[in-house]
Amino acid sequence: MARDGEDDEREHLMVSGKALVKRFGGVAAVAGIDVEVRRGESFGFLGPNGAGKSSTMRMIACVSPRSDGELRVLGMDPETDGPRIRARIGVVPQLDNLDVELTVRQNLQVYGRYFGLSRAQVRAKAVELMAFAELSDRADDQVEPLSGGMKRRLTIARSMVNDPEMLLLDEPTTGLDPQARHLLWGRLYQLKQQGVTQIITTHDMHEAEQLCDRLVVMDGGQIVAEGSPSELIRRFSTREVLELRFAPGEQDGQLPHVADLAGRHEVLPDRLLLYADDGEAALEAAHARGVRPVSTLIRRSTLEDVFLRLTGRSLVD
């Protein structure tokens, strides 16, 4: 019985990595991470440049052999079942690699053929996906003259040509304008409703909060925290944050007057962050001590604060 339970659980695990390592030369880009992604879940890798997000994604996408540790994707081993795994997933690489020798429509059709879909299937699929990416009016244009955001949308549409069970999206919204970004978030939500598992990397904490049921924060090839966005905020930050901006050069002098008003503070180049459950109260106390910042802001904690707490660094450099 216990065995059955175990197998059941495996069924639901789309990705399962244990002590997963990726080394380039002597350098470990991924330094032993444990990660599990369940069916139907939206899972995020959040971390700064060089954290190892893309390296992890490439191992999951079966285009980069692991250096050490265990990895199973859709219950299979990427080492031996790469093509079968890739047949069932969709990949949006960090950098677009659309086929510049083909038109928008041909990009989708030809890519579908790589998956072994029939000509009739790819014709229908291309029409459907161009509508999805709002590129129907550019159907027979070459790819090169498209704007960056249009190319990104086409890359995302292309990743869905094989009706994947799982999508790997490496910084999907880089280069998208706010409107296109919201459109994409909406589409990803629809796909989630249809049961498509999603793995997303991003440095955008807002995006992570919007999209991810669960995420890990990566730094220097390691996972430094794991949970749902709200859990992480609760665990690693306070409910509110008081931001104080001072005139240039005054910040250092003012810090001793306010540091004790909150359990924790962070010093950024342009502002002070005071972590207090009641931001309003902290601000009043500061005013009472005669502290006069140029501007103040009371806001809720975000994943940015979690990241700052965990790594001592800002997420967006």
Binding site: F24, A61, C62, V63, S64, P65, E79, T80, G82, P83, R84, R86, A87, R88, V91, P93, L95, N97, L98, D99, V100, E101, L102, Q106, V110, Y111, R113, Y114, F115, G116, L117, Q121, N162, D163, E165
Partner: protein
């Protein structure tokens, strides 16, 4: 609805035993991509055929009158143009194959990231190698058929075995396409294509293309024998004249070996470069 049945067939056992990501799903879709890309560039295809034909006419009108008869396969005397035409067929098969698998492949590999995109699908390095090489062979095959027809019209074929010139040209194309593609994976900048030209040019001139190997002193003949194009030239010349002998098996074997080595090396390199 999942539409993945095509890939569920499962690769053959032998392919499963190859190293990481190197199984084959079918190079057909890779060839199809090239066909789409070139569906509108048939003008280039025409020029690829026109060049050797212009040579042929030049030899017919010019050199033919000067040189007269030469000793062909089996010791018979043939017109110079009949002597040189099969060699030109072999050389154009080589040139076409090398052209198609060098700069275009380099561009797709290093700049356009076409192969990276393919590797995210069930396709593997072997599919890419076979697909790209096959496309070069198909394209060369079209030229060859046209070229052989021109030879027939000019009365340069003296044997029914000459129909075998077309498959022989495909073998030559395959050998040079696969070696060409393998070499292209080692190039780092477009200027390095001069090296390939540096190899192809002497092959073209000194592979007994324009005069029989007996012209060379005994001591350097082995050099000519080392040239892969020489084997293509000898094969074609024999077939065009209808003089068959066992040495042809050797010529085919050399070309087939080159083809096999080229495919293996190309697959390995693509895997090493892109599946890091």
């Amino acid at each position: 609805m999942r539409t993945m049945d095509a890939t569920q067939r499962g690769p053959a056992l032998i392919l499963r035993m190859l190293p990481f990501g190197r199984y084959t799903q079918g190079p057909g879709s890779v060839v199809e991509r090239s066909m789409r890309v070139h569906s509108r560039t048939w003008v280039i295809m025409v020029s690829g055929f026109a060049e050797p034909v212009v040579y042929l006419l030049a030899f017919q009108i010019g050199f033919g009158a000067l040189v007269g008869k030469v000793v062909g396969p089996g010791g018979q005397l043939v017109d110079y143009v009949a002597f040189v035409a099969p060699a030109l067929l072999a050389a154009s098969a080589m040139n076409g194959a090398v052209f198609e698998t060098t700069y275009p492949v380099f561009f797709k590999l290093r700049y356009a990231k076409v192969y990276d995109a393919m590797l995210a699908t069930p396709l593997g390095p072997v599919d890419i190698a076979l697909g790209e090489i096959s496309w070069a062979v198909i394209r060369g095959g079209v030229y060859s058929v046209a070229f052989v027809l021109v030879m027939a019209v000019m009365g340069l074929l003296s044997s029914p075995f000459a129909v075998l010139l077309v498959p022989a040209a495909l073998v030559v194309s395959f050998a040079f396409a696969s070696v060409g593609m393998a070499l292209s994976t080692f190039l780092r900048s477009p200027s390095q294509f001069d090296y390939i030209r540096l190899v192809v040019m002497p092959l073209f001139l000194f592979s007994a293309t324009f005069y029989p190997v007996s012209v060379y002193p005994e001591s350097v003949r082995w050099l000519v024998h080392v040239s892969p194009l020489y084997h293509g030239v000898e094969l074609m010349r024999g077939l065009a004249a209808g003089v068959l002998d066992v040495s042809m098996i050797g010529h085919v074997a050399v070309l087939a070996a080159l083809a096999a080595v080229g495919v293996a090396a190309t697959s390995r390199r693509i895997g090493a470069l892109l599946l890091g």
